[in-house]
Amino acid sequence: MSAEQTTPVLTVNGTEHALTEAELNMNLLDYIREVLNLTGTKNGCGTGACGSCTVLIDDAARRSCLTKVSSVVGKRIATIEGFERPDGSLHPIQQAFIDAGAIQCGFCTPGMVLSAYSLLLKNKHPDREEIRRGINTNLCRCTGYQQIVDAVEQASKMMYP
């Protein structure tokens, strides 16, 4: 028992992963992509500017490229892959992104969805300005954000009618 307690563990999408010494020294983005093969989390800049690497750490949207694995031991991490439901259906935020035409190249999309999720946890009915604030640190070069704002607005209505 005691040995298990001292092994550092990271919970990603509900699954516990024991961490090696080398893994503790990795940044969270590399760990997620290279060790767990969860490639939905993207590396767009590596300097915390773009938000493509956004994951949820205890439900808050955070940049995994600037996060050391050792700093989040014991916490709950969720990536876009964690949104997959057993029956394959989409989360309302994901569906809203499709319906609103909020997806173009798609590289920023997983990070955007996670930032939107985190926003809607804190604020169930954000107005458009609040949505813009909620996704402000996620860069998108394709859409001009307008249909992403539409999507989050629609998702809010679907989730909290």
Partner: protein
């Protein structure tokens, strides 16, 4: 069958929203090695020496590749074969790659890269295009005896003479800056040697066929030995051609030399350092106007910074020439458009392609001229704009499609209440802290390549006997939704359910080279090819099914997932049609191609039918300028574009909003600070693309005059959306402050407002 209007269709949306879409860096292959590039600290230098000894001995290193290891051509390019894929004897700019380190692990390659020792003898850095033209300037490119890379001309009428006789002569100078594409996904390539000798290339690119040419050149192998696949591409905007293709070529070389899969994924820093940029322009205009408001003569000289390699600069400059005075009819034009070699970063294709720089000048001149004439900016534009059956500055008569310049302008001016709001602009004085302004601009844009290239594209429809259908075209998905548009056009024209059709994974070994997916040509050229293939398929099916339907072949119709005779009593389902064809041993397969209508160009006079059709655009903006900070805050944007017809309406709007946003970035915040060939920063923290909160709500108006020049009646929206918001913003800032800003990005100094 048609998608209900208002409903979005994207064949890749599910994969992208779930994170299942595999971009190039998301791919892994068994026994895959990792490569990283090595740059030098020089900008311009000769006698390059690269010592790879220590790096070769570094842990995990498999090979350090330099120019000496290249079996094919070290240099390649789309026009001139001058783009150096590995620096050989000289360093020409900050982005030159001197070596590629390949190791078992990426971290090993990264630490070995630091052990490559580079030495060279520095040369003077040529960084000012104007100075580079002087006979005293050092020559950047050994292959030439001057730094002038390219010179396009227009000689129409006699502008220098006519300018002497004009009531008003405006003389205006404008400048634009280096712009980074800033696609969210940095370049990446994975190359896999196949047992049959073919090199498989998976890469982040816009143009698999263009990539194949670069790979073939570096490897010294024929095109049939290379098969390029395009995984989802995380944005391109014109920027994922030469550089992205070279990244693929280097990875392919490593894979060939080691005979194992190799991945080469760029960091953002390398991406900014090496990828080509939008050309900075300096534009000098002399515009002669009669009292009536009619522009009589235009003399213009544009000078653009080409960096050390030609890339597609002549084509970019050509568009600036053909559209050198915006959407206006002028009888006397004297234009010189120059591209100059420097040791600054390479410049090449970017969404807009030589038009945003010109429009920034021309559409400010329109407002300046209107003010001098004492007429409304709309009136000035109305007097001078191209009209139905009128002539462009290239002498082209616009009689093949609806010329909707005025219609489009009126839609925007009406929607934003331009005339009324113009009267309310602050012009430097207001009671509160904010100055208010409204501004507008118009443009036309030649669709597709025009006289700059060979313009044709093909499509293959391969109907399966179980009722499903495979489609491919020579147009590629860059995130804009090209595949979805092709699928929608096929479903609509063949009258079948959309879910019957699958877009075939693109490969250069399947459909023929359809040219690059650039120049807003995806919808018009790919759609033309699909339409041509559908016509052939329908003919084939009618010839083989008319007896079943008990009618004549020309009476066979296709609708509602059925094949029908002249009356609705005689009909069979699509599935039944496929069964009949199977029993007749007929393949329901069609290859169609679309050749763009003829265009023409005279290099000496700059006259000809430059493009086979045009997109007409107008954009307007409302903004405020804070008196104490100078901060410009956009409040509202309205845009209208005549694109023939909208196939995927929500995606058309998405292109508009995205293009406008890139234009806003160019106007207000984006600036790659280059000092003497050196980058001040190599990250997206300093290079500021627009964020969600900096943008206003936008209204997109789709104007649809079906275009007879396009088989699908649709034109494109990619580039028109970007090319004209910057001058609208500059006009609005003028109307707010009373100050004319002629250099991008616009920076209002609060001192000037006092």
């Amino acid at each position: 069958m048609k998608i209900p209007s208002g409903k979005v269709f994207r064949n890749d949306a599910y994969a992208k929203v779930t994170g299942k879409a595999k971009y190039s860096d998301d791919l892994k292959f068994f026994n895959m090695a990792h490569a990283v590039p090595v740059y030098s600290d020089y900008i311009h230098a000769e006698n390059l020496q690269v010592d790879t000894g220590a790096a070769e001995k570094s842990a995990g290193v498999l090979k350090v590749i330099t120019a000496a290891d290249v079996p094919g051509s070290i240099r390649f390019g789309q026009i001139d074969q001058d783009y150096c894929m590995f620096a050989e004897k000289k360093i020409m700019c900050a982005g030159d790659v001197v070596a590629l380190v390949v190791a078992e692990q990426r971290s090993q390659a990264l630490s070995a890269a630091e052990k490559v020792v580079i030495s060279a003898d520095p040369l003077p850095v040529v960084s000012d295009p104007e100075a580079a033209l002087s006979p005293e300037s050092p020559i950047v490119r050994e292959i030439e005896n001057s730094n002038l890379m390219n010179h396009h001309k227009m000689r129409r009428g006699d502008a220098p003479q006519e300018l002497k006789n004009c009531d008003i002569v405006l003389q205006e100078e404008f400048s634009t800056q280096f712009i980074e594409h800033a696609y969210m996904e940095p370049e990446s390539a994975v190359c896999v040697p196949r047992q049959d000798g073919v090199m498989e290339v998976y890469g982040s690119m816009q143009h698999p066929f263009s990539t194949r040419r670069f790979v073939g050149a570096l490897l010294g192998e024929p095109l049939s030995h290379i098969e390029v696949y395009q995984p989802p591409t995380g944005g391109g905007f014109g920027g994922k051609d030469d550089t992205a293709a070279i990244v693929c070529a280097r990875a392919a070389l490593a894979a060939r030399l080691l005979n194992r899969p190799v991945k080469l994924t760029y960091t953002r820093e390398w991406s900014i350092r090496e990828s080509y940029k939008r050309h900075p322009y300096r534009l000098n205009y002399k515009v002669g106007i009669e009292k009536s408001g009619r522009v009589k003569a235009v003399q213009v000289r544009m000078i653009s910074d080409g960096g050390p390699y030609l890339s597609v600069s002549p084509w970019v400059n050509w568009r600036s020439t053909a559209q050198c005075f915006g959407p206006y009819t002028v009888d006397n034009v004297h234009a010189d458009v120059l591209c100059v070699a420097t040791n600054n970063p390479v410049t090449g294709a970017m969404r807009g392609f030589g038009a945003p720089q010109v429009n920034f000048a021309v559409e400010q001149i329109s407002d300046i001229a209107a003010e001098r004439l004492g007429i409304s900016p709309l009136e000035y534009r109305r007097i001078n704009m191209v009209k139905q059956d009128g002539e462009t500055v290239t002498g082209q008569v616009l009689d093949t499609h609806t010329v909707s310049m005025e219609q489009v302008m009126d839609r925007v001016a009406g929607e934003i209440a331009y005339e009324e709001k113009l009267g309310r602009c602050s012009r430097g004085t207001s009671e509160g802290d904010e100055l208010y302004g409204v501004g507008l601009s118009i443009s036309y844009r030649g669709s597709s390549l025009g006289a700059e290239g060979m313009d044709f594209c093909s499509s293959v429809i391969n109907c399966q006997f179980d009722g499903s259908i495979l489609l491919e075209t020579g147009i590629h998905e860059n995130g804009q939704g090209a595949e979805s548009v092709m699928l929608m056009l096929l479903a609509e024209q063949l009258g079948v359910r959309l879910d019957r059709i699958k877009y075939k994974r693109s490969s250069t070994s399947n459909v023929p080279d359809g040219g690059t997916t650039v120049a807003t040509r995806g919808t018009i050229m790919g759609g033309g090819a699909v339409t041509a293939a559908v016509q052939k398929l329908k003919q084939l099916m009618a010839d083989n099914l008319y007896d079943v339907l008990q009618c004549r072949p020309e009476e066979v119709r296709f609708a509602d997932d059925h094949v029908l005779g002249p009356d609705s009593d005689s009909k069979i389902t699509w599935d039944e049609a496929m069964q009949h064809l199977f029993l007749k041993r007929v393949y329901p397969y069609a290859f169609g191609s679309f050749q763009a209508p003829d265009v023409s160009w005279d290099e000496e006079t700059g006259q000809g039918d430059a493009y086979f059709t045009y997109v007409y655009s107008c954009q307007a903006v409302e903004l405020t300028v804070n008196k104490s900070t100078g901060k410009i805050k956009l409040q509202n944007v309205v845009a209208a574009h005549d694109i023939g017809r909208a196939v995927n309406r929500a995606m058309v709007l998405g292109q508009m909003y995205g293009g406008i946003t890139q234009g806003i970035g160019m106007a207000l915040s984006e600036d790659l600070e280059i000092e003497n060939g050196k980058f001040a920063h190599l990250d997206l923290n300093h290079y500021k693309i627009p964020k969600a909160r900096e943008l206003p709500e936008m209204t997109g108006i789709i104007v649809e005059n079906p275009d007879p020049q396009s088989p699908s009646k649709a034109k494109g929206i990619g580039e028109p959306a970007l090319e004209l918001i910057a001058p609208a913003i500059a006009n609005a800032v003028y109307n707010a402050t009373g100050i004319r800003y002629r250099d991008m990005p616009l920076k209002v100094n609060p001192e000037d407002l006092k």
